[in-house]
């Protein structure tokens, strides 16, 4: 699992690559901490290369969303494939996030 944070067009873009399962989630949590610590702009979560996500991954997404909301910023998700979108649907997360 690989997590990259970039600044593009005044937005924080987080690129997820690989499988975000429980075993990977603690590392990812550490990786995205900078974005959550100081939210200065909207956050875009890029899932184009995300293969898999489990509830621990969803919990990271939720904590990012909560931090952004606390700062009055938006979180956008882009590039989510159909299988993962289904997981978002099942959990009701599809209603929480804005999709690009």
């Amino acid at each position: 699992m690989k997590t990259t944070i970039k600044e593009e067009n005044n937005n924080h873009v987080v690129y997820f690559e690989g499988r975000l399962d429980t075993s990977a989630s603690s590392q990812v949590q550490v990786d995205v901490q900078p974005v959550m610590d100081n939210v200065k702009s909207d956050i875009i979560l890029d899932c184009n290369k995300l293969e898999y996500i489990s509830s621990s991954g969803l919990r990271i997404f939720l904590s990012i969303l909560k931090s952004a909301k606390a700062s009055g910023k938006h979180v956008y998700i882009q590039g989510l494939n159909n299988e993962l979108r289904q997981v978002f649907t099942m959990t009701g997360f599809i209603n929480l996030f804005e999709f690009k």
């Binding site: 399962d21 075993s23 898999y52 919990r59 969303l65 299988e83 997981v87 959990t91 009701g92 929480l96």
Partner: protein
């Protein structure tokens, strides 16, 4: 077609016949009686008439005889005066006698022998009429005619009084029937010295008798003292024959009897068979003066001819009257009974449904009018009742349709799609209810949650709508309460508490609830006063039918707060649980015998199909009850627990420790399994997600932080489904009891946890938790995609 009188259908005809018969009997009887009296009257009258005729005749005869006697006596003085005169005087006197009395044909004065010495022994001057009517005289006595010895001389002499001789035939002046009156002459000493006689012809007697004849076919006759005919229509018999001779000759005893009576001086009337007239009447009467007897004989036929004629006339009249009566009756009775015929038509019309049928008008104020009034009343009340009946029926129909709806609603609550789990190979369920009349109070239900089969069967006390309402309540309580509660005793306790509240009608429910853990065969159950289910154990070489042991608990709804006991047992695959209500064991036949548990045990067969079991039991019950009406609902629920590992296609196992870093191994394992069952990438991802969530849950919660333990995972698949069994020996932890995640909450409200199990239940077909042998056993199932 032959009609017998009593089979005649028409009232009018029958009435007519009765009237005519009665009239005929009355008229004929009257006619006969009248005829009898008429004949009797005729007889009396004729007797009177005959008697008077006979009396007249006698009087006439007497008159003649008296005249003769008077004439004789009148001359005695002259004879006495002239006895000493010349003897010529005696001749003159006899002649004078004839001259004065034309009916005297001869007269003699016969003296005693030698009375006149000059005349000799015989002196009897005698005058008589010859054939020409001239009076001649002669001396009668000669030696050849010694008159002193004659009866006409001797009798008066001896009796010293006048005597009429027996009639005789005189041949002197032509043949004549004669009688002679002799009268003795006595001297001063009283000695008879002469007899004066007067001969009288009796030919007039026959003429007189002929004149007596007052019927054409009647005749008269006179008998002398000895029965000789003195007068008779047959002249030859006169003086030649006695009535007794005739009797002998004609062989007629009646005649002799009558002759005897007549000569005996009797007077009477008799029926007799006349030799001349046949059946006749005879009237006879004595002629006292002469000792004769006369009789009139009349033909009975002629006698009663008037009566017979009258009889014929009356008979004809009666016949004519009866014909007229019949005619009048035919018209009259028809007219009188016409309303009856019309009533019949009208009533038939009414019977055919036309209640407005017009009744015939009746003008008379008699029974017909009353009948009509009754019909009108009947028609009206019939109409009214039909109307009421219609209303009642409508009402009844409404109630019935509502009842039907209630019944439908009730039945709709019962599971009705069988088999209910066509894609499951571990369970085979069949339930059936045969309601008694309409809505009943039996219920059964089952459903599978978390790989646990929740099933129940119950019987609400009473029947009808109240029972069905309670049944509906019980069923929905079962569904609601069992949704979050896996222990049947707790479900029942809660149901009991709810139903005991406000149970004013004191309705109660006997209920059995079972919860069968399908992966393990663990059966937890609680019985609230219901019939103990029958277990059919069909394991290897064992075939036994036993009742599931049940604690005696109260039925629910009676006492709130009752502690219901929980019972447990292990059900081996191949076992059938047969549940029923008392409608089965208490089914009655016409002799009011109960079907009973023994017959039920015999009836439940060992077969591999739950529907088959149920149907065979129903068949046995119907054979037993026969014609008897089903008195109670017949409800059965058959649960067959089948060996779950049948037809295993493959089995794969892995053991992990409670470390999340082991998740990639789990992923590899799941990928491998999914590849084996040919799941596509998307499904494989779902399986991974579900398994990761389930296993991580166990890692996190079954083993508290700091402890380690193993997690054993078995993946098995048959033709239909894939199954993961995750077991661990950590602390009891039932993930299925976790609260449902509310997926509609906003980001701020959403809790961080709880998503995992939610995902598992979403992704898998079933999730089942069971604590068994100090292990947490979680079973996840996923149906294989049906190929083709």
């Amino acid at each position: 077609m032959k009609h017998k009188f009593w089979r005649i259908r028409s009232f009018a005809t029958r009435l007519s016949i009765w009237v005519i018969l009665t009239a005929a009997i009355i008229l004929l009887t009257t006619a006969l009686v009248v005829n009898f009296f008429v004949r009797d009257g005729i007889l009396r009258e004729e007797q009177l008439r005959a008697t008077s005729a006979l009396e007249n005749a006698e009087e006439h005869i007497n008159k003649v005889f008296i005249a003769v006697e008077t004439a004789v006596k009148n001359h005695t003085n002259e004879i006495k005066k002239n006895v000493n005169a010349p003897h010529e005087e005696m001749y003159r006197i006899t002649r004078e006698m004839l001259e004065i009395n034309p009916m005297i044909v001869g007269s003699a004065i016969a003296f005693e022998p030698n009375y006149f010495p000059d005349e000799g022994k015989y002196f009897s001057p005698y005058s008589y009429r010859d054939e020409k009517g001239e009076i001649l005289s002669k001396q009668l006595g000669t030696d050849t005619y010694d008159y002193h010895t004659m009866e006409w001389y001797q009798m008066p002499k001896k009796l010293k009084k006048g005597h009429w001789s027996e009639p005789y035939c005189d041949t002197g002046g032509g043949e004549m029937t004669m009688t002679t009156y002799s009268y003795p002459l006595t001297d001063n000493e009283g000695n008879v010295y002469a007899i004066v006689t007067a001969d009288v012809s009796l030919d007039w007697l026959s003429d007189m008798m002929d004149s007596l004849k007052y019927y054409e076919q009647s005749y008269c006759f006179i008998l002398s003292r000895d029965g000789t005919y003195l007068a008779h229509p047959i002249k030859e018999t006169v003086l030649n024959e006695t009535v007794f001779d005739a009797s002998k000759k004609l062989k007629n005893d009646d005649l002799a009897q009558i002759g005897k009576e007549m000569t005996g001086g009797k007077m009477d009337m008799k029926r007799f068979s006349s030799p001349h007239l046949g059946h006749s009447f005879i009237f006879y009467k004595p002629i006292v003066r002469t000792g004769w007897s006369m009789a009139i004989v009349c033909s009975a036929k002629e006698f009663f001819s008037s009566a017979t004629d009258a009889g014929f006339f009356v008979a004809t009249l009666i016949l004519v009257m009866l014909v007229i009566l019949a005619f009048i009756l035919k018209i009259g009775v028809r007219r009188l009974t016409l309303p009856l015929t019309q009533f019949t038509q009208a009533v038939n019309e009414v019977a055919n449904g036309n209640l407005q049928a017009k009744l015939p008008p009746v003008r008379s104020k008699d029974e017909m009018l009353r009948l009509r009034n009754s019909f009108v009343t009947m028609q009206r009340s019939l109409e009214q009742q039909m109307e009421e009946l219609k209303q009642v029926n409508e009402q009844k129909g409404r109630i019935e349709s509502e009842l039907r709806i209630a019944s439908n609603i009730q039945r709709a609550m019962l599971p009705k799609i069988f088999p209910p789990y066509p894609d499951r190979d571990d369970i085979d369920i069949y339930g059936q209810q045969t309601p008694a009349k309409a809505v009943g109070g039996d219920l059964f239900d089952f459903y599978i949650r978390d790989e646990k089969l929740f099933f129940c069967i119950g019987d609400v006390s009473g029947k009808g709508i109240p029972a069905s309402l309670v049944m509906a309540v019980a069923r929905s309580l079962f569904r609601t309460l069992s949704m979050h509660e896996p222990h049947p005793n707790r479900i029942i306790s809660q149901m009991n508490d709810r139903m005991a509240e406000d149970n004013e009608l004191n309705m109660f429910v006997t209920l059995f609830i079972g919860v069968l853990d399908l992966p393990t065969g663990r059966l937890r159950y609680c019985n609230a006063g219901h019939n103990a289910p029958l277990l059919l154990n069909e394991a290897e070489n064992v075939k036994e039918k036993t009742f599931l042991p049940c604690d005696s608990n109260l039925p629910i709804g009676i006492m709130g707060g009752w502690k219901f006991t929980l019972q447990e047992t292990n059900i081996t695959p191949g076992t059938t649980i047969f549940l029923y209500t008392d409608g089965l064991t208490e089914a009655e036949n016409i002799e009011h015998e109960l079907f009973g548990e023994e017959r039920m045990i015999d009836a439940v067969p060992f077969t591999s199909n739950s529907q088959d079991i149920t149907e065979r039991v129903v068949e046995a019950v119907q054979d037993f009850t026969g014609e008897a009406e089903q008195s109670d609902d017949l409800t059965m629920l058959t649960v067959r627990y089948i060996r779950p590992d049948q037809n295993l296609r493959f089995k794969q196992e892995i053991t992990l420790t409670n470390d999340v870093s082991q998740v990639p191994q789990l992923t590899d394992f799941v990928d491998l399994v999914c590849e084996k069952v040919n799941f596509d990438a998307a499904t494989t991802m779902q399986m991974n997600l579900a398994m990761e969530e389930a296993v991580v849950n166990v890692m996190n919660y079954a083993y508290p932080e700091g402890t380690t333990g193993d997690i054993h995972i078995v993946a098995a698949a048959n033709d239909k489904r894939l199954k993961f069994i995750i077991s661990d020996n950590g602390i009891p932890f039932d993930p299925t009891m976790r609260k449902e995640v509310d997926t509609t909450l906003s980001a701020e409200e959403r809790p961080i946890g709880g998503l995992g199990i939610h995902l598992v239940t979403q992704l898998m077909d079933s999730i089942n938790y069971e604590r068994k042998d100090n292990m947490n056993v979680l079973t996840l199932r996923k149906k294989l995609r049906v190929e083709g």
